[in-house]
Amino acid sequence: TVGAVALDQEGNLAVATSTGGIEGQQKGRVGDSPVLGGGTYAANEACAVSCTGDGEVILRGALAHEVYALVKYKGLTASEACREALHLRAEDLKGDKGFIAIDKDGNVAVESNTNIMRCAYRIGDEQPFVAVWREE
C-alpha cells in the first residue's frame, strides 16, 4: 500500500491511498485503503490520514477516522493521535498498523508498529526526510 497526505499553502488538507492488496488475497477482497474512515480520511478542521498494514484490523478499528476524531475532539496533534490510534483496543485489534498524517497546523506524523512502511516527508523548504526502515 502507498499513500500521501498534504497541507497546501491555502491551508487545505488532502489524502490519497492506493494498494495492490496482499499476496494471495481472495478475489474481490477489499482492504482498508479505499474505505473512507478505514484507511483514508481528510478534513480541513483536523487532519489528513493514510494507513497501511493489516487491512481487516484497520477497517474494524476505523482507524483513519479514529485519528481524525482524536485530533478534532481531543485536541491532540497528528503524532499524538496516531500513537493513540496505534494502541486502540490493542487486544482486539492485533496486527500490523502504520499511519501517516498531517494536521491543520502542519504537524506531520509517521507512526507504525511494523517494518512494512517506508516513508518520507518534507515540511516547507526544510530538508526532506526519507526512511526505508522503521528505526531510521
Binding site: 500521501a4 498534504a6 492506493s18 495492490g20 492488496g21 499476496e23 480541513n44 498531517i102 518520507a120
Partner: protein, 168 residues
C-alpha cells in the same frame, strides 16, 4: 509563506532487512525521494494538496518497487487487483475504487470518480468501464506484474497446496 508539507508512505512487502538486497533498498529509497519531490514541487509552487497527493501516489504506482499499480501483489488467482481512494479535506468530497484491473493509475481513477460522477465509490468492472469512458491510461496485464510479485505468489500457492484441506 504559509506552512505546507507532505508525507508519503510506500509499502514494499519485505519486512526483514536481511531479505532486502542493497540494490533493492537503494531503488526503494530513490522511489520515495521521487514521489516526495513530485508532491512537494506542486505544494512549493502554490498548488493544491489534492494535486500533490495524487502526483505523489501516481509516482509510487508507476514504480515497480512498491505495492500499488505496477508491482502490485497478486491475488489467489494470480491476478492484479487494485484499490484506491482520494479525499479532499476542504470539501469532504471523496472518490474510491476497488478490484480494478488494467488502469495504470487507480488513484487518478478515484479522483475521476470524485470529480466526474455522482458517486463516492465504484467497484470492479464498473470502475474499469468508468476509466475507459473517461480516457484514463490502461495497461496490459504484464505491465503490472513483476517477477518479485509472481515469485511471492508462487510461494504462497505452493504453501497452500501443502496445507490439509479444511473446506468442502
Amino acid at each position: 509563506m504559509k506552512t505546507y508539507a507532505i508525507v508519503i508512505h510506500g509499502g514494499a512487502v519485505t519486512m526483514d532487512p536481511s531479505k532486502l538486497s542493497p540494490e533493492e533498498e537503494a531503488a526503494q529509497r530513490h522511489g520515495l525521494q521521487e514521489s516526495l519531490q513530485a508532491g512537494w514541487e506542486i505544494l512549493h509552487r502554490g498548488g493544491s494538496a489534492l494535486d500533490a497527493v495524487e502526483a505523489a501516489v501516481q509516482s509510487l504506482e508507476n514504480n515497480e518497487h512498491f505495492n500499488a499499480g505496477r508491482g502490485s501483489s497478486l491475488n489467489m488467482q494470480g491476478e492484479v487487483q487494485m484499490d484506491a481512494a482520494i479525499m479532499d479535506g476542504r470539501t469532504l468530497n471523496a472518490g474510491a475504487v476497488n478490484s480494478v484491473r488494467y488502469v495504470k493509475n487507480p488513484v487518478s481513477l478515484a479522483r475521476m470518480v470524485m470529480e466526474k460522477s455522482e458517486h463516492v465509490y465504484i467497484a470492479g468492472d464498473g470502475a474499469t468501464e468508468f476509466a475507459l469512458q473517461h480516457g484514463l491510461t490502461m495497461e496490459a496485464v504484464h505491465y503490472f506484474e513483476t517477477e518479485k510479485a509472481r515469485k511471492e505468489w508462487l510461494e504462497i500457492i505452493q504453501e497452500e497446496e501443502k496445507q490439509p484441506q479444511e473446506h468442502d
